[in-house]
Symmetry: C2
Subunit: 389 residues, 2 copies
């Protein structure tokens, strides 16, 4: 297996992009990544696209072919592959681009994630998102994603004493980070009272415990590490990749305070990278709801099970904390265009490891981790990246 | 890269399976393939699932996680990946399973394709299928898939003198083959008059020029060739794999009588296999409409461009002809559960190369080819398989 580096990144602004279509944002992110990598379209051997549900959002399947076409790459007939695992589609696309380069099948691969969730022609966002859960056992009976994560939150509070204040502190931190991210959907800070007193969505999750509905796209360019120096002075190597599954419905799990998919994907990624959780300098984790940032930081091994809430309260996940989490603003403040999220996380880690994260820069970050979840954790994908000195 | 073999295959019956859900048929095909391969669930390292649009058909995304869950594999947290490229989703899943084993990332990989197109909770079949075309330039203005392929047929008739009778002969041949396939949706022969006098769908395509709406699932088990003999006496090696793209909308192509995606995917597969088109003993090609079998047999190099219609008329694609095409009955008679089709094609080729195709067996078949198309050819995937002696 060859070593693989990210040699370019690009992203659209995240938000309600009323004047742009899925193809517009997909191409915009791709072109930015290509320019950043100093390559041209003719260098590209294949593309991967992470997208959850363009079929429902905009009545468009066959999305990878669409993006290849509008990027001009279909004229060269390169392979274009869409992968889908709900909100982990982006991370899964990154993993498959990584596998394609690592195995020697392709050299230069562009991996994009894109989702157009507003201004849609198909089903609305909540109706579409619940298709990531078990249709027959959860969606059909009226369950929504805030409802599913609310059950996890209540149980975590019961088992470990996690508080509604600690959940709100995740939102406050991530809004503080998002305010410093020029591409974030919400670039404003909120205070704890605002978060705590927001309208209730599904107890204990209030409005600010939930990530928003977002349009956006992000892309990365992958190359064999041995070729990377030809294109960039700051290649970021992918040193670990892990993917794991878990039961689709929550009721089939022994414990809903942990996502075993995260645990197993992280184990694989750490092993491949040859590092420990404590070696990670900066992490983007899947905070679709605030409770999931807490659960994720435990399952990734940053904190012991049950201590994620306390860790937030103690500031350990702040930018200057022990393990800075979601410096981009996370899904909460940066926004959560579902199929793009996994790639956007990688983009932020690349910015951090290159030292290009501006006011949200973590000093001296050398190793970063991206953690992407599908549904309530039926899929998890973890990538670990390192600055190449 | 390691050599890769198919060590087991399985399929459901194809048809209107009112009493079975997507998860039912996905598991049924998978279990049959696993039993055929003499492996147990604990041997499986990863699964790939080809599915076009469960989101629209049955309001279920995250399909690979669903199948892993119901197969009991999520208890072992193995990676479960869905790929989508419209009606080429099955072929694309096979290619990614192949890549995962060839690269050494996984050993035993089950690749399934499944689609539940009747008895659905979401959009109907025609409305869903057109999502494989360009939403903004084709679907939005009312185009349907029969309409798109009708334009290709009319042009092929104009350019090369292909006749409506030749199109009908494809249907007659494939129904004759399907009548011998116990898993086919239509197990009855039709005569030329029936095909020619059928209700018109989109000129020149009548009812029998169009593949049906079908429920069904198929699966194959992949292993490194060096391990294959441990499980089976009749491993079928995948000796070539190719994937290519083309513009999504028909209007962007120089020539709509050819699919350059097929040409490029086939070129890659032939090169990897080190064979010529004339070396192929049996082929399953993507006859979603009869015109596409004719175009495919030309683009795959079996006949010169423009001579596909005449070849059918001369019986060259019959079971005892120069190059037997669609011995399974093809999409036309076997049925076309869109995401399953690419896997079902591979299953038929495996039966043929093992000598297990019963009354539709092609004598002495040693090399087989499967050709899977997405949309009107924005994606094409070609696999070449060989009996290991």
């Amino acid at each position: 297996m060859r070593r693989v580096a990210i040699i370019g990144v690009g992203t659209t602004k995240f938000g309600e992009l009323w004047d742009k279509s899925l193809r517009d944002i997909g191409i915009e992110a791709g072109i930015k990544a290509i320019e950043d990598a100093n390559i041209s379209g003719s260098d590209i051997d294949a593309i991967y696209v992470g997208n959850m549900s363009a079929g429902n959002f905009i009545n468009q399947e066959h999305v990878a072919a669409l993006i290849a076409d509008y990027a001009g790459l279909a004229k060269r007939h390169i392979p274009a592959t869409r992968v889908e695992s709900a909100c982990a589609s982006g991370g899964l696309a990154l993993r498959h681009g990584f596998m394609a380069v690592a195995s020697g099948i392709h050299d230069i691969v562009v991996v994009g994630g894109a989702e157009k969730m507003t201004d849609v022609s198909g089903a609305d966002a909540t109706a579409t998102l619940i298709m990531a859960a078990d249709q027959e056992w959860e969606a059909f009976v009226g369950m929504t994603f805030p409802g599913l994560y609310a059950m996890m939150a209540v149980r975590h509070m019961y088992e470990y004493g996690t508080t509604k204040e600690q959940l709100a502190m995740v939102a406050v931190k991530n809004h503080r980070n998002g305010a410093l991210n020029p591409n974030a959907q919400f670039r404003r800070e909120i205070d704890l009272d605002t978060a705590l007193n927001a309208p209730m969505i599904a107890y204990p999750l209030g409005l600010y415990d939930c990530s928003p509905v977002t349009d956006g796209a992000s892309a990365v360019v992958l190359a064999p590490l041995e070729m990377a120096k030809k294109y960039t002075d700051t290649p970021i190597e992918i040193i670990g990749s892990g993917q794991a599954s878990e039961s689709l419905a929550l009721h089939d799990r022994e414990d809903i305070c942990t996502m075993k998919s995260t645990v197993f994907a992280a184990r694989e990624a750490y092993k491949m990278a040859g590092i420990m959780p404590s070696d990670v300098d900066v992490a983007e984790v899947h905070d679709c709801f605030t409770i999931n940032e807490i659960i994720a930081t435990e399952d990734l091994g940053f904190f012991k099970k049950g201590e994620g809430g306390k860790a937030v309260e103690e500031g350990l996940t702040e930018r200057d904390g022990e393990i800075p989490v979601n410096t981009s603003g996370g899904l909460k403040a940066k926004g959560h265009p579902v199929g793009a999220t996994g790639i956007a996380q990688a983009v932020e880690i690349v910015y951090q490891l290159r030292g290009e994260a501006g006011k949200r820069q973590v000093d001296g970050a050398e190793i970063g981790l991206a953690h992407n979840v599908g549904g309530t954790g039926a899929t998890a994908v973890v990538h670990i990246m390192r600055r190449v000195n």
